[in-house]
Symmetry: C2
Subunit: 128 residues, 2 copies
DNA sequence: TCTTAATTAAGAATTTTTCTCAAGTCAAGA
DNA sequence: TCTTGACTTGAGAAAAATTCTTAATTAAGA
């Protein structure tokens, strides 16, 4: 475990914002000013391959990362792109329903939401 | 409605493969050899903004497009990236549960799956 | 048929991510 | 402590996906 990897993991676990690689790079740079963006990408890739963090590859074009690997849903604001956690009970018996419906074997599922965050909701109300 | 847009929409509606912009470009090019990739992107963007098609921006880094705008789930093969439809009953009362959990207003949700398609499942069995 | 506003093709530019490689670091054994 | 070899880093180049720019063309209404 290199120092760089340690700091990347530490900062990601501390954040609750599901940062992009670039956002995390800017934050880590405050502690390690000489770190390179490729190092951030490389370590995020390895940490998620090892199951230590989660790569959110279903929240739009850009990857986001989550230091919390417990199973939970996300909601993304369609206005500002912010992502929040949503704790919802797992759906029972869904795997078999999918195999029956399409023949694929289910490894995982994501129940994710699109919506408006409290701030953007307020803005909309003001504008109308 | 330009001829290009007509052909793009027609081919997308015909396909059941949730193509990427590039895949659709290759298919449309057989009918319109001089069409440019940017035209395909531009029209897919406009058609999805108009609600005539669906942009799948939660299936990985690359966007995919679906000519079927009826509400349904998708499953993506982790090996080959193929995407199939899954018809599952809508989840009751989920909107209120989310507002309670995180304060965001729900506009839409996606219940999507990761798994293995029948072909890759077979390959895995052969390799082991 | 004109007019004009929208759309096109082509390529440049941008954005996000991955790759390359020389130099640096680490861990374990001699 | 020194050496060795494998792993990792920083920096920039490259790749992949998408968007933008521009002059030319086309669609659609008057």
């Amino acid at each position: 475990m290199t120092h760089q990897r340690e700091v990347i993991l530490e900062e990601l676990k501390r954040l609750r914002t599901h940062p992009t690689a670039d956002e995390l790079y800017e934050i880590v740079k405050k502690r390690l000013p000489r770190i390179s963006l490729a190092t951030v990408y490389r370590n995020l890739e390895q940490l998620s391959a090892a199951g230590i963090i989660q790569k959110l590859d279903f929240v739009g074009r850009q990857m986001r990362y989550d230091g919390d690997i417990s199973k939970h849903s996300h909601i993304r604001c369609v206005e500002c792109g912010s992502v929040a956690d949503v704790r919802i009970n797992p759906i029972q018996g869904i795997d078999q329903a999918v195999i029956d419906a399409c023949g694929y074997k289910v490894l995982d599922y994501h129940l994710d939401f699109l919506g408006l965050c409290p701030i953007c909701l307020l803005k909309k109300h003001r504008d109308n």
